[in-house]
Amino acid sequence: MNKRLNLSLGALTAVLMVAAIYMVFVYVPTEADQGIVQRIFYFHVPCAWVAFAAFGLVAICGIFYLWLGSEIWDDLGYAAAESGMVFCTLVLITGSIWAKPIWGTWWTWDSRLTTTLILWLLYGGYLMLRAMAEDTPQVARFAAVVGIVAAADVPVVVVSVRLWRTIHPAVLVTRQGGHGLEDPRMVATLLIAMAAFTALFVWLLTLRFATLRMRLRIATLARDLNLAHAAAGDL
């Protein structure tokens, strides 16, 4: 992987993240009903957006892997699933922390929370399959299918607040239409935070993808080394 690209992505992520932190803690006004704890929302929503994008990418990579059979798609899907899992974990944790002072409980079996937990478990299964099984084309095909099927839960999570009775706030698109962020500074803060997390995701994805490609290069070298040893034995 190009080191300059990695550095540029890392620097862009750092700049956007500092801007987002400044806006969350200094620039944006405190929400009238929920108070200071509403500021969790500005990182909670971008984490969810990035997790959904990552799992969508896993499904796309799975389709391309099954179609073309190239290991690049498999590695990219694996890297996306791992990064998506990190952000999905953060969604569940930050949501739970927000829920305690607002709802009075750490967890409730609300439709959005439950479908998000199912999504987390599905991709947890995907990663367990990758970690425990050997690195063979058959396992990669199984993983591609699991990744595609699991991604079907993403749209369910998104529309769950409108499909079922729920206490989860629908802020970005309210049940009455329009968005629930009345102050333009709130919208600006959310957009910058989303840009920061998108950059962070792309950076982590390229780093992890490079690691997986390096593993493949080592496997190829090991095979060459065995062949060379065999040839040395023959002479």
Binding site: G35, I36, V37, R39, I40, F43, H44, C47, S83, V86, T89, L90, I93, T94, I97, W98, K100, P101, L200, L204, L207, R208, A210, T211, M214, R215, R217, I218, L221, A222, D224, L225, A228, H229, A231, A232, L235
Partner: protein, 59 residues
């Protein structure tokens, strides 16, 4: 500043998890780089040895 503890906990966890994941990737990458260099060196040695052995036979 009611509920500040919850806000602090949420942001601390976010940055801690991201930091730990970056460290995890970085350590794995460093380990693989060392392994890759060592393997390339071994392969180079074996190939040179092969070349050295093959040359006298071809004369």
């Amino acid at each position: 500043m009611e509920n500040f503890g919850y806000l602090f906990a949420a942001y601390t966890i976010i940055f801690a998890v991201i930091f730990l994941y970056v460290v995890f990737i970085w350590r794995r990458q460093s380990r693989l780089e060392i392994e890759l260099r060592a393997m390339e060196a071994r392969l180079k040695d074996v190939r040179e040895e092969l070349k050295g052995r093959a040359l006298p036979q071809s004369r």
